[in-house]
């Protein structure tokens, strides 16, 4: 929990700095976060590579874990169907399109803005940023009440990059193959599912 509070403090600090205009545009427009992410992944890889015990455990992985991407898609879309009763102003297909971003906010919001306009595109952006934040911030809570796979499922399409370090920290390093596989499948599904639901 202490870890999550520190993480959210850094995020809020960033929002405040950005809002007050204390961040130079050149920093925002730069690919800095991409380079930091690359560095992060290098060190995540390094710590996993050192750990030969974990590497050996990969071969013992239960193939049932590969059902996880399907569970994530079914659970996400099911949740969107249920919430449609509380948001009667929105078409079901709009909600399903937003949900199909699976946390991949950049791509899903571009797609949805293109097909359905900027308003729904902005909702997709916000909703999928929230999903990524929830995956990052609530990881300890999710592991405790919904089991070790829930951090991966909630992380959606981000589980092979941005949320991977948090998943490895709270679920365990042995979940790296499942997490990367899950992120890969969901990443690929985003353009297809978003396009599909926007066609209604």
């Amino acid at each position: 929990m202490k870890g999550s509070i520190i993480i959210v403090s850094f995020f809020i600090l960033g929002v405040l700095l950005g809002y007050m205009g204390l961040v130079p545009d050149s920093l925002i427009e730069s690919d800095l976060s991409f380079y930091v992410l690359c560095a992060l992944m290098f060190f995540v890889g390094l710590s996993v590579g050192c750990d030969t015990k974990t590497l050996k455990s990969f071969s013992k992985l239960n193939p049932k874990y590969f059902l996880l991407p399907i569970a994530t898609i079914v659970g996400t879309l099911g949740g969107c169907v249920i919430i449609s009763f509380l948001l009667p102003d929105r078409q079901l297909s709009d909600l399903l399109a937003v949900g199909s971003g699976f946390g991949y906010y950049s791509l899903s919001s571009i797609f949805i803005t293109e097909y359905r306009g900027a308003e729904l595109g902005t909702i997709a952006l916000l909703s999928n940023i929230m999903r990524e934040l929830i995956a990052l911030l609530l990881a300890p809570f999710l592991v405790r009440y919904f089991g070790k796979l829930s951090t991966i499922s909630v992380g959606g399409a981000t589980t092979m990059d941005t949320t991977l370090p948090v998943i490895l920290k709270f679920s365990g390093k042995e979940f790296i193959v499942i997490s990367v596989f899950h992120g890969f499948i969901l990443d690929l599904s985003v353009p297809f599912l978003v396009t599909f639901f926007c066609s209604f």
């Binding site: 959210v8 850094f10 560095a39 992944m41 909703s127």
Partner: protein
């Protein structure tokens, strides 16, 4: 996306060759990089007026969708977790 994965693989291979050496500070370094990434994400949100305006007006709608999507997937993940661990007891 694939470039990021490539970095992780390079890190993994490097780590494999360094596995006999002491690399005690890596978990701390990973934590600091997570903080930095979250701060950068916050800066992008804070400095984009469209996102800030959107947070006030349509943010609630986005939050509802997110809670529904997150709860749905967490329940499905719990179901799968129980299914996988059923035979182990």
């Amino acid at each position: 996306m694939f470039i990021v994965i490539a970095f992780m693989l390079i890190g993994g291979i490097t780590g494999y060759f360094l596995r006999k050496k002491e690399l005690g500070n890596i978990p701390k370094f990973v934590t600091v990089l997570i903080w930095l990434l979250l701060a950068i994400l916050g800066m992008e949100v804070g400095s984009n007026p469209d996102i800030i305006k959107g947070l006030a007006t349509i943010g609630k709608e986005a939050l509802f969708i997110t809670i529904a999507a997150v709860t749905g997937s967490a329940f499905m993940a719990l179901l799968l977790w129980k299914l996988i661990n059923k035979g182990k007891k």
